[in-house]
Symmetry: C2
Subunit: 77 residues, 2 copies
């Protein structure tokens, strides 16, 4: 439970930092694309197995990493 | 398998970017601490259940996020 809590909310500190500083020059967008594809596939896997803990934790991760990808392009310039 | 591949190697692009640019000013170290604690707990959980896929994927993640934390302090200034 605790392990899932930390890994699920991992992107949150970076989202807050990007939002406050409006600066993402040193952030690797490929990291967020890689994780985003991974957690999206985990969510699909969870849906196929109807495993709710997998769906919920990875669904939240997909959402958070999606926000970070949006912020990257918003604050890139 | 594919989902695990992407989420396990997620930190790699950021490590490569930090190593090349020697710059981490926009990176949130709290993101890597949060994920590091999470994957470390997953690794412990895997060891307790002797579940090798969990041990291996999260063990690699723990190692990679540890490298990124090291690079952060190395290139911070």
């Amino acid at each position: 439970m605790l392990a899932g809590f930390f890994t699920t909310l991992g992107a949150l500190p970076q989202i807050i930092k990007a939002y406050r500083s409006k600066s993402v020059g040193d952030v690797s967008i490929y990291m967020f694309y890689t994780i985003w594809v991974g957690v999206l596939l985990w969510t699909v896997y969870g849906i196929l197995k109807m495993d709710w803990p997998i769906i919920i934790t990875n669904g939240i991760s997909t959402f958070l990493n999606g926000i970070m990808i949006y912020f990257y392009y918003k604050y890139k310039n």
